[in-house]
Symmetry: C2
Amino acid sequence: MKNQVEICPLRLAMDIIGGKWRLSIICLLKDGRPMRYNQIKRGVPGITNVMLSQSLKHLEEYGILHREQYNEVPVRVEYQLTDNGKTLLNVLSGLSDWGNQYIDRHQEYQSHCAECLFREAAESK
Amino acid sequence: MKNQVEICPLRLAMDIIGGKWRLSIICLLKDGRPMRYNQIKRGVPGITNVMLSQSLKHLEEYGILHREQYNEVPVRVEYQLTDNGKTLLNVLSGLSDWGNQYIDRHQEYQSHCAECLFREAAESK
DNA sequence: CAGAATCCAAGCCGATACTG
DNA sequence: CAGTATCGGCTTGGATTCTG
């Protein structure tokens, strides 16, 4: 079966996961457990409310995160990876393995990427 | 063997292949054959000299492309994927497969991504 | 032919303040 | 608690011109 139109799923994927904060959020949620808004905020050092809510909304729109709101007082909102988001993890893992060859050249990445949860996998190799 | 420092190969990879034009160039060169500067320029519609030379230099610095200069008159410069660049193709292929699920929602991507050479793989599915 | 230099525009992102 | 509104700067990329 052939799709006649010319499109670029690769660039689309890059646009979905690109941006400064999205990967950090995905990595933080990679275990599949739901996390609350402020929990995520604490887990991604330096992120502002604007960037966090924007990123969460974006990832939710693409079906990578699920947002569940509990109307308690105060309100509680939880985010977690969808099944589709988990399929993304495998792809990102491959990308991470590939990028691992460059770590020696970029030690300055240590400082602002301590939150990346793929690092254990990289370290154990 | 364990690397004690905390780094993020995933973000590093994203920074290497990120940017507006780099993927287009990589896709254009994916067959492994060398291409000349202006050949690449024609193959990536809309790119300017500044962006092209900047992107090529960046990709060369990370060992994804090899640059070979022939001092003829006029000078001839050829670029081709390195072996390391070819390993990247496999990873990108996975990312492209993942992104393929979103094509229906983003038909506007047709117009400015006709150059993406992963599209045949996506179409045949 | 294969770029480099310069200047300019747009958009991403940050800081701060405010709200249901 | 979980966001939104607004403003402003800075980075990224675009247009044009020039050169070995």
